[in-house]
Subunit: 338 residues, 2 copies
DNA sequence: GTGAAAGCGCTAACAT
DNA sequence: ATGTTAGCGCTTTCAC
């Protein structure tokens, strides 16, 4: 750590006591000190290139002005947008975010949580869908404000911010229905994720409502590879009867696209494919992916807002904030081949 | 901040003095304390769910075990991979990364740097190509270890980790040459980025060496939109003579692809396009993008490694670490149309 | 091998 | 309006 200019050096230069420097430099207490003195202090601080030591301050104020963000996988393109929303909302408030990418591992998640807690974060935004982590219990006992994003662990008692999966799935299924599709596949994500479960359930309801045939297959991870794998299996079966695929995420849809191409079939002529999330560049794929646009950055912003509220007002009721989504029709869906 | 179990509560429960707890819990000093006592302390700590307060410790040790990472834009898909490399290397060493996304703004970058410095980061990895930020001068005076990634600001005296742009451009140009292309466009990025300049220079050299005609156009930002805009302008000109485009980044190449499509031309039949970086999903685009694969995660790892070295050994010579890259040929390049 | 005491840089009571 | 004092939780001499 670099040699640090301390508050007392500034005090000496300005010819005042350290506490006066502290007051002069803190906007909230600036009014307590004589304006001329304040100006002198500020000049001194600038000339010395003084940066207050936030750790020392935090030790005193019991506020770190830091919040922790835990995500399962930074390379999943939905998370950067969410993070951007969080940072964009928090930075102007003076908060800095400590980011932990836990790479989908439970063990890493535990160590990330404890590392963040040790660093005295003032709150935590968790996007991993923690369900059974033992630390979470500890966490909730500790009273540290937590907001869940995107994936909600059941019964944690924390606020959850998420897109409206039900609405998105319904819009997509209706779109497919209007194109004449009557028999479809849902590629679900791992059922340990609440999002995957929610979307699969929404599929069942939507297909019943539209009297469409539905078959659900489950991918073991939310990756292109797993989407490809399950679609491979589907296409290898004799007598294919489905004409459309609704994937639980764009990544899975992308895998389906790959498999379809590999089998010498065409999308959308032979099979329509629809995704979920509208990840960046979904439009550039081949073909451009019809998908449900989830307001990722908004979700980030809203979760930051919820966290600020929880920090200020203490734990409220564990409300669920659901943001509206919209269908984006592109080239991967077309009338059902008859 | 949550009510915190302190070291003295652990000490009381274990029936020892706080300093003994400190020694017992720190692996480096554990040997100083009686094994049985240590065990008792550890049990007590666990039962109380004790987490050491890293800020308090840092105040004493002058080590925050935190490093700051400044990137220009999280939603640019090359950065998550780099960050992942950094975190992957640092987390096992006990370091946590404080991430600041400065959204391409110089003002934000300054405030991010000062926010990180205030938080006593032990070092900084900067991927924004800081050139004239006044804070950087201050920074280098302060002696805080810094490593530059990807984009090197000229003459900063900091180590730089980057991919081998020259090698990548050469490989791509030679590939295009062997396909019969003799007249090409380089879509350069903003010339304020050293990477953009370096790749443009490499283009000049490579084209001279292969006696290819080259024209360089400059995009005002590294985005799909700007790539599309400059390509639009190119295609609107009468008597197009080029048959291939080498973009400075994949995002720019993607924009070119869009423009080509919009003008009713085909890639690669009419125009070949090659990118740079091999961003995630470059393979899924339409057509799959020929590009230069840059070992992004490796770059992150190496920059973390360099930073650790600088933290341990003090500033070394400001070496430049250049990692090899490779050409990935996909569907966007084909023989020149005659 | 363990305890006592001091102090990291800061802010918040309290005093003046 | 400013100075004094104490203490946040921890580690680190220095004693014993």
């Amino acid at each position: 750590m670099a040699r640090q200019v301390t508050i007392s050096e500034v005090a000496k230069l300005a010819g005042v006591h350290a506490s006066t420097v502290s007051r002069a430099l803190n906007p909230a207490t600036r009014s307590l000190v004589n304006e001329k003195t304040a100006r002198r202090v500020i000049t001194a601080a600038e000339s010395l290139n003084y940066f207050p030591n936030i750790m020392a301050r935090g030790l005193r104020t019991r506020l770190s002005m830091t919040i922790g963000v835990i995500i399962p996988d930074l390379t999943n393109p939905i998370f950067p947008s969410i993070i951007r929303g969080i940072e964009g909302h928090l930075a102007p408030l003076g908060y800095t975010t400590l980011l932990a990418d836990v790479d989908g591992s439970n063990a890493l998640e535990d160590s990330a949580i404890s590392s963040l807690v040790q660093r005295q974060v003032d709150g935590l935004i968790i996007a991993t869908g923690v369900e059974q982590s033992s630390l979470v219990k500890t966490l909730s006992e500790s009273g540290l404000p937590v907001v869940l994003v995107n994936r909600g662990a059941s019964e944690t008692g924390y606020p959850l911010v998420t897109g409206d999966d039900d609405m998105g799935i319904r819009a997509s299924v209706e779109h497919l229905h209007s194109l004449g599709h009557r028999n479809m596949i849902h590629i679900a994500g791992p059922q340990s994720f609440s999002t995957s479960r929610g979307r699969a359930d929404a599929m069942k309801r939507a297909c019943e409502g539209n009297s469409m045939q539905l078959r659900i297959v489950e991918a073991s991870a939310l990756t292109v590879e797993q989407g490809e794998r399950v679609t491979d299996a589907l296409l290898a079966e004799p007598n294919r009867s489905f004409t459309a695929i609704q994937a639980s995420t764009d990544l899975l849809a992308l895998g389906a696209l790959r498999a379809i191409r590999k089998f010498g079939l065409r999308c959308p002529e032979d099979i329509s494919v629809s995704g979920f999330n509208d990840m960046p560049f979904a439009e550039e794929f081949s073909p451009g992916l019809t998908t449900v646009r989830v307001p990722l950055e908004e979700i980030g912003i809203e979760s930051a807002r919820q966290l600020m509220r929880a920090i200020k007002d203490g734990p409220g009721s564990p409300l669920v904030v659901t943001l509206p989504v919209s269908l984006v029709v592109r080239a991967s869906t077309a009338p059902a081949s008859t």
